[in-house]
């Protein structure tokens, strides 16, 4: 199904997901996966991650090959009324010109998922490199949804972007 934006129930799951598996492609054209906190901006229809420069390999991979996929699965890891297992393929961009401040525009989304984040941020001086962070922005292109998280049923497919 072609759609201009993600279906609402998919957006609900993305907003409530505590963890996602982000897969990027390395220089050997092999997948490399990382569990990460997904931040979904419903207004823009874009999925965000922030990555500390301590764990920056994925950033280098994305700069060379922007194709990524994101998996949201397991009911307990999604804080929302509805749950679906969702795989998103998309194109990613890395924003790393201002590692100290730019990612902080995502703090409102981050705060919703980890309410204690401000406490850690106040102690930024304790782990200074951890708080130097790049933004990974993922524009969804193809979405696969196992409705209600039922992996025994055929998934639904969406092409995003019209």
């Amino acid at each position: 199904m072609n759609t201009y934006r993600l279906p609402q129930e998919v957006e609900d799951v993305l907003e409530g997901a505590l963890v996602a598996i982000l897969t990027v492609v390395n220089e050997k054209n092999e997948p490399v996966s990382h569990p990460m906190l997904p931040l979904y901006d419903r207004d823009r229809g874009l999925l965000y991650f922030t990555s500390s420069i301590l764990f920056s390999k994925k950033l280098e991979y994305i700069k060379k090959n922007p194709r990524v996929s994101v998996l949201i699965s397991h009911r307990e890891y999604v804080n929302s009324d509805k749950y679906h297992a969702i795989e998103i393929k998309g194109d990613a961009r890395v924003f790393d010109q201002d590692l100290s401040r730019e990612w902080q525009k995502l703090l409102p989304l981050w705060r919703k998922k980890e309410p204690y984040i401000d406490t850690y941020l106040k102690q930024r001086f304790a782990l200074p490199l951890f708080w130097e962070r790049a933004i990974i922005e993922v524009r969804p292109r193809k979405v696969r949804v196992w409705r209600d998280g039922d992996l025994e049923k055929e998934p639904e497919y969406y092409i995003v972007g019209g």
Partner: protein, 439 residues
């Protein structure tokens, strides 16, 4: 091979591969038990041949959601290799595997081992954008971290004791006290930065992968908050300022005595880690700290006020010298494996656990015995015996070290308690002199 027990530790199981469209694909897997084995099965809608004989990542992931929001108890395992799929059942011929479990490798340690990568990334961006990038934590926090500001308590308390002992003899000049405190604080801050500078050159701080707020240095150079040139400039400036204040006090209060004590302070502070002496690397760091923060500071402060040196001042410097030495000593315990690796043979690195605990107990007993001796030898008022009130705290320090010996993160609490013990005991000792004078 992923065992059934491994899988029970993870709820989220997925496989990633490069799809026909060139995008990576990350697919959830079903886990089913078959004849006692755990099988990983593809979900509906995913054909065997999409994955068969492809380079894949098998990811096992776990978090424990917190009811009030967020999560904890993170762990994951990634197995990379060639996949074999038959009838929807996935096997991975593992070529490489890596895991992280925050109960095994606490997050601060996990972060620490990646420091070099982060520095490289910052340098890369700096080259791309044509400017120097540093972690931005603000000027105050950069200074706070670089000079290890809270440790100034180790200067303030001996100064208070020297002042208290002088006050007991009827001498007190607040301006001289302020000058003494400023001069000694400058030398102490210089010592802290010089210590980081030379520990970085000599490899001890780089080797340390489990630093804490009390051990492993300030990390300011390691994290790139300051570079080596800046660190050298900072410690040189502080040493020069401290020496200038010392020179002024020498000229105005006693040339020989203040000059000797200032030179001793500067010598011990600089050569604590600086080559060729590297006192801390040769097992003399503890005695240097005892002398520097005990007799040198207490006698110096006392002399500036009274213009004389007496046995009463010398004996009053011993307990605080021992307690500040024990701050260093206890903080060195978590650094032991890394210090050994870097050839920094501190006293603790030369001891067995039993010997290390014996030295700690002996030093604590000597501290309180000396306090007891001061009024007994008529070298101070009986009111200084209030300093003995901290003995239960000292006992808790000993038990805490004994219980958590060597585990850096579990030792944070006891290292903090040890600093408190030195501060409280020293403050009570100073207060004892002042109360004794008032009575």
């Amino acid at each position: 091979m992923v065992g059934a027990e491994d899988l029970t530790m993870f709820e989220q199981v997925a496989i990633a591969f490069i799809d026909e469209d060139g995008y990576p694909s990350t697919i959830p897997l079903l886990t089913t038990r078959l004849n006692g084995d755990v099988k990983l099965r593809l979900p509906k809608g995913i054909a065997d041949n999409w994955i068969e004989r492809k380079k894949v990542n098998l990811i096992l992931n776990h978090i424990t959601p917190i009811p009030t929001g967020g999560y904890t108890d993170r762990r994951y395992a990634v197995f990379r290799g060639l996949s074999r799929v038959m009838d929807g059942i996935v096997r991975v011929e593992v070529e490489r595997a890596y895991t992280w479990d925050e109960r095994v490798t606490p997050f601060p340690q996990y972060v620490e081992v990646s420091t070099a990568r982060a520095r490289r990334y910052l340098e890369g961006i700096g080259k791309r954008l044509g400017e120097t990038f540093k972690p931005r934590i603000g000027l105050f926090w950069s200074f706070f971290r670089t000079v290890r500001l809270p440790f100034l308590i180790a200067t303030a308390v001996p100064v208070a004791i020297g002042t208290g002992a002088a006050f007991y003899r009827g001498f007190f000049d607040p301006l001289l006290l302020l000058l003494t405190l400023v001069g000694l604080s400058c030398i102490h801050l210089a010592l802290n930065v010089a210590n980081d500078y030379f520990d970085t050159i000599l490899g001890a701080d780089i080797a340390n992968k489990r630093p804490t707020p009390f051990s492993g240095g300030s990390r300011a150079i390691i994290y790139g908050i300051v570079n080596m040139q800046e660190a050298r400039l900072i410690y040189t400036s502080f040493f020069l300022t401290g020496a200038a204040v010392g020179a002024y006090l020498a000229v105005t209060r006693g040339l020989l005595e203040i000059s000797v004590l200032t030179c001793m302070g500067l010598f011990l502070s600089y050569f604590y880690t600086a080559p060729p002496l590297k006192l801390a690397y040769r097992g003399f760091g503890e005695i240097a700290v005892f002398l520097g923060f005990g007799p040198v500071i207490v006698l110096g402060t006392y002399f500036v006020q009274t213009q004389r040196i007496g046995l009463d001042a010398i004996i009053s410097s011993i307990p605080i010298g021992l307690l500040i030495m024990l701050i260093l000593y206890v903080n060195e315990i978590p650094d032991t494996p890394y210090d050994r690796e870097a050839g920094k043979m501190t006293l603790v690195t030369r001891f067995t656990k039993k010997q290390a605990l014996g030295f700690l107990a002996g030093s604590l007993i000597a501290t309180y015995l000396t306090i007891l001796l001061i009024p007994l030898l008529n070298l101070g008022p009986t009111t200084i015996l209030i300093a003995l009130a901290s003995a239960p705290l000292a006992y808790r320090v000993y038990r805490g070290v004994e219980h958590n010996f060597g585990d850096p993160y579990r030792m944070i609490g006891v290292m903090s308690l040890n600093v408190k013990n030195a501060a409280i005991t020293g403050s009570l000792l100073a207060a004892g002199y002042i109360i004794g004078a008032a009575l």
